[in-house]
């Protein structure tokens, strides 16, 4: 089969293709490919559903101990004394560790102070309660407003607030003067936590001076480096394994206390040590998405052009970390000005969470866009089209809005507030998203073994996206063999380096290396087989697991062909090279909701997500990323809210009961349209789909009822308040 090669990416691809990238350019899928871009089920699906897949939580080692952290119950306090004496006498206790020393301060409820290791999980829990820590409590703040208030005494050594990056572009004052309408409103989104189904943790085992750590992580290689640094041992002495993991969403990149504590306790006790956090620890101390407040002034011309933007923004990333976000988001305001303040409160620190900053900036901007559209009496979609950046391969919103409008039935959308007569009102909303997703850190090793096995080794990890399946598809498609022939090995620092799985970079980071390594391996194989098949390697091809002379003639099964390798397998390594992957994606989403105006309950009826990610490797797993993103965003829109008690500073809902998450029945019909752009090469998709759903939902509520929801989550109490304000002609 003559491989039809792709045009190299247009201007939007920054990567000047390498010689190998040209030689092994992607074949146009899916018509011309056996599995690339097809709907391929996860290769490890059966292992996952049958329980055969072993997550860190499932790793048990002979003689293993359990560790348990002791955490501060106070939002801010000084540690006066740590007394381990009672804990050391407790049944089964084998070791203790002070994570912080007396004199140090704890900065939030859940801040780790110490840890114990015992021979069972129950003994460790009971013993942890016997560690007596004396605190001197200190003044605290758990509200952005109070930390921002200049009258509040200094709680944080570096100040209670800190200015973030500011923007000043164009002539804002003049632009506001020229604007036909000037609009002001304040938007805010809440702190939510990652809620990984598998909690943070590790199993650590020393053999002599070598450490093996099974870690639920988004980056085995990064954890190796951090563990070695924390323990002051050579990186060469650390092996990190993560075969399967139950979600990270950005919170599992650092080697935090959940990894370093068991490593240290394993050293102290001379036994393997397992430490897995519980749900409460997860909520308190493994990261969150910062809050975001935006006090906005926007100016728009009579014909619907956004001309001026001015915002004061703030938010909290916890006890010392920032809370910045992009604003305005995507839509072009030629003149704009923004000042941002990071506000510190005594609560767990933020960590990257699925598209850091974007859902927050998207919400404020997209709700504002609907309000502005009404001011100039334009359809919100028309209004958006007017204010988008120019269309480009990495900026397809205009096209997608039009495609989506047709598919979703936007023409049936009624004017704002005319969502019906009774207590059930329906409405539609839209929103857009942007993301990078250009990875570049993946090395691949491909072995073709004489018995016909193909082993592909990549030191990446599967954070739930289906990385193992992607590795297999790229290799199998390139080699021309069935997926079942390829054994993908991932999740181990003994495998060739790959970057951490964050920023939607994994697939774009690993696929080029696999494509080229497999291409080169195929070439090497055909060269070795040529003497037995007519002598000319360039006349050979591999189709559906058969090695054959192009256009008919002699052929061999894959197995028979590989047998001819004798005792010397094909073994090829390749790094990532530019030209087979790219960066920057766009997407839009539509949502339809029903609002019960007598209860304030919002039900999402359906969502349409249109998303590109360059070349789609596996349609099924790519769609899964969109489903997951949409569901997360529905949770952000309606349910999730980290609630801190104003008086004690403690979280009131560190569980999955009062910290609400959609149940299966709360998930609407979600339709996904993947816009395959094979000519751009591979780009990631993990993050963008979780950006726009929440704003589309808020806009749909506004469309249904006329009441504008500028604050998340859309709990009934907020919706009822907004409805009441709308009825009274007030701004909520």
């Amino acid at each position: 089969m003559a491989e039809e090669t792709m045009q190299q990416p247009p201007a939007a691809n920054p990567n000047e293709p390498s010689a190998n990238a040209k030689k092994y350019a992607w074949t146009v899928p899916p018509a011309k490919t056996a599995i690339l871009s097809h709907r391929v089920e996860r290769v490890d699906g059966p292992a996952k559903v049958s329980g055969a897949a072993r997550y860190t939580y499932d790793i048990n080692r002979p003689g293993m101990l359990w560790a348990r952290a002791i955490r501060s119950p106070h939002p801010h306090a000084k540690i006066v004394e740590i007394d381990f004496s009672a804990a050391k006498q407790a049944p089964g206790v084998r070791g203790v560790l002070a994570w912080k020393d007396p004199g140090a301060e704890v900065m939030y409820q859940g801040d780790v102070v110490a840890a114990v290791a015992a021979d069972s999980e129950d003994h460790a829990r009971d013993a942890a309660r016997l560690v007596k820590i004396t605190y001197e409590t200190l003044p605290f703040s758990v509200r952005e407003a109070s930390s921002k208030d200049p009258a509040t005494p200094k709680i944080f050594a570096t100040g209670n607030t800190r200015p973030g990056q500011a923007t000043d572009v164009g002539d804002v004052a003049a632009a506001f003067k020229s604007a036909a309408h000037v609009y002001e409103a304040t938007y805010d989104t809440q702190v939510i936590t990652h809620v990984c189904l598998e909690t943070h943790g590790a199993v650590c085992e020393w053999t002599g001076d070598k450490l093996t750590a099974w870690v639920t992580t988004q980056g085995v290689h990064g954890v190796r480096q951090q563990l070695a640094a924390a323990l002051k041992i050579p990186e060469a002495n650390v092996r990190v394994i993560c075969e399967y993991m139950g979600g990270g969403f950005g919170s599992k990149i650092a080697a935090d206390a959940s990894v370093v504590i068991p490593a240290r306790l394993a050293l102290v006790t001379g036994a393997p040590v397992k430490m897995m956090f519980d749900r409460k620890e997860e909520h308190l101390d493994t990261g969150n998405r910062p809050s975001a407040f935006s006090k906005v002034r926007a100016g728009v011309s009579a014909d619907g052009k956004c001309v001026a933007f001015e915002a004061e923004t703030w938010g909290t990333g916890g006890a010392g970390q920032g809370a910045q976000f992009p604003l305005p988001y995507i839509y072009q305001f030629a003149n704009r000005k923004r000042a941002h303040l990071d506000v510190y409160i005594n609560a767990g620190n933020q960590r990257p969470m699925r598209a850091p900053g974007h859902p927050q900036g998207c919400f404020a901007t997209e709700v504002l866009m609907d309000e502005l559209a009404d001011l100039v009496k334009m359809d919100p979609l028309e209004f958006r089209l007017k204010n988008l950046p120019p269309t480009a391969p990495d900026a397809m919103w205009g096209e997608y809005f039009k495609i989506g409008a047709k598919k979703f039935g936007w023409d049936k959308r009624r004017a704002t507030g005319e969502g019906g007569k009774g207590h059930l009102r329906t409405g539609m909303g839209v929103s857009a998203c942007q993301w990078g997703g250009g990875g570049r850190a993946g090395n691949a090793h491909v072995d073709i073994l004489p018995d016909g096995s193909v082993v592909v080794k990549v030191g990446t990890q599967d954070i739930g996206t289906g990385a193992r399946t992607v590795v297999g598809i790229v290799a199998a498609d390139t080699l021309g063999v069935p997926l079942s022939t390829v054994k993908a090995q991932i999740g181990d620092t003994d495998l060739p380096f790959a970057g951490a799985s964050g920023g939607s970079t994994t697939t774009a980071g690993i696929s080029p290396a696999i494509r080229i390594a497999a291409g080169r391996a195929k070439e090497a194989l055909l060269a070795r087989l040529a003497p037995s098949l007519g002598g000319d390697a360039s006349k050979l091809e591999i189709v559906n697991g058969r090695v054959q002379v192009k256009g008919g003639g002699k052929s061999l099964t894959w197995k028979a062909a590989c047998k001819l390798l004798g005792q010397e397998p094909i073994s090829i390594d390749n790094a990532w090279e530019p030209g087979l992957s790219s960066v920057n994606t766009s997407g839009v989403q539509f949502a339809e909701v029903t609002v019960d105006t007598e209860t304030g309950i919002v039900k999402v009826d359906r969502v349409l997500a249109i998303q590109d990610c360059g070349l789609v490797i596996d349609t099924l797993t790519a769609e899964s990323q969109v489903y997951g993103g949409v569901i997360s965003s529905i949770n952000f829109a309606l349910f999730e809210d980290r609630l801190l008690d104003r008086r004690t500073g403690q979280m009131v809902n560190p569980n999955m009961e009062h910290y609400l998450l959609a149940s299966i029945a709360d998930v609407p019909k979600v339709e996904v349209m993947l816009m395959n752009m094979p000519e751009r090469g591979v780009i990631g998709i993990g993050e963008p789909p979780t950006v726009p759903t929440a704003s589309a939902i808020a806009n749909a509520v506004r469309n249904a009822t006329g009441a504008t929801l500028r604050s998340l989550p859309l709990h009934p109490h907020r919706v009822l308040a907004a409805l009441e304000a709308h009825k009274a002609g007030r701004k909520a």
Binding site: T599, D645, R646, V652, S663, D666
Partner: protein
């Protein structure tokens, strides 16, 4: 959780005797509430007495009504054809609880005797009145789910049992057995508003007693309606709900019971709403008048005034359901 002794008697008599084992002894039914409390160190126990073998797990006809054993699961209750036909509000309340897992495991006795779901009560850190402390954290804390009625006492919880509300509305009686034999308590008198004396309990049951049966009187010609305002479709609690039971005299209401749930430390009977119904036809206008009457005198706390609107909605929709006009 702290280690405990476990006994599993097979008769009610032995179970009651076992409650006297000494130390802290707790009856264990489905464990959906008790085990979570023990695991979270909200409380500790020295002995658990499994009552699922000892107590009746059947629904039997009695005097034109039904006698429901305390060990009947919520799932069995919600699918029992007699319950569905005679006391549909009770069946519906049971069917809406939590999740299929909780309904298959949880029992009638455990549901009616479950402890509060207040987020302060449920966490070890917050030593509130109910745990021997000297404050209710909700007063100047996060009280969006707390009581809007009956909140003058020390604790501002809402009673968490969904079954308790239709039980009161249908005029159920609870059979309670102790060392000195059995007694019957009207459901409405079983649950107690918190005072400084009784704040550590939500009902009149003694530590040495068990709830053995719920007796539902012959329904006669009642009509009933039940409506729960729920944010999530499952694994969640109602924000407010209502059961309405009426008898008719021609087109007009002859007598009525309106009981509200998730709004007060006990199932909250609204006599004002009942008065607004009696003598009137079951129309939208009557329902709205009764709902307005039902929330008269509500005393919202700093964050839960929204529950007034939600409660009104529950009352209107329960009445319309009783009228056969489902909203």
């Amino acid at each position: 959780m702290k280690a405990f002794a476990y006994v599993s008697p097979t008769t009610a008599k032995d179970a009651i005797a076992a409650l006297k084992a000494g130390g802290i002894v707790r009856p264990l039914a489905g464990g959906q509430d008790l085990l979570a409390r023990l695991k979270d160190y909200v409380e500790t126990a020295d002995t658990l007495v499994n009552v699922k073998q000892a107590l009746d797990a059947t629904v039997t006809p009695a005097g034109g009504g039904l006698k429901i054993g305390a060990a009947v699961t919520l799932d069995a209750l919600s699918t029992n054809p007699h319950v569905i036909r005679m006391y549909p509000a009770l069946a519906e309340a049971a069917a809406k609880v939590g999740s299929p897992q909780i309904r298959h495991q949880g029992t009638v006795g455990g549901n009616l005797n479950q402890r509060p779901r207040c987020w302060y009560f449920r966490q070890e850190e917050f030593v509130c009145f109910k745990k021997g402390g000297n404050r209710c954290f909700s007063v100047d804390g996060e009280n969006q789910h707390h009581a809007i009625f009956g909140n003058d006492g020390p604790s501002k919880i809402v009673h968490s049992s969904s079954l308790a509300v239709p039980a009161v509305a249908y005029g159920a009686r609870f059979v309670v057995a102790g060392p000195n034999g059995e007694r019957e308590i009207p459901a409405a008198e079983y649950f107690t508003l918190p005072t400084m004396q009784n704040v550590k309990k939500e009902n009149v049951l003694g530590d040495d007693e068990l709830l053995t049966h719920v007796i539902l009187p012959a329904p006669g010609h009642i009509r009933s309606g039940h409506y729960e305002v729920r944010f999530k479709e499952s694994r969640d609690w109602p924000m407010a709900f209502a059961t309405v039971v009426v008898t008719m005299n021609g087109a007009n209401v002859a007598s009525a019971r309106v009981v509200l749930g998730a709004v007060a430390p006990t199932p909250w009977r609204s006599e004002a709403a009942e008065r607004a119904l009696v003598g009137k036809p079951l129309t939208q206008a009557t329902a709205e008048a009764a709902a307005a009457a039902a929330v008269e005198g509500a005393k919202p706390m700093s964050q839960n005034a929204y529950k007034i609107q939600i409660t009104k909605t529950a009352v209107v929709r329960a009445i319309l359901e009783a009228a056969g006009k489902r909203a």
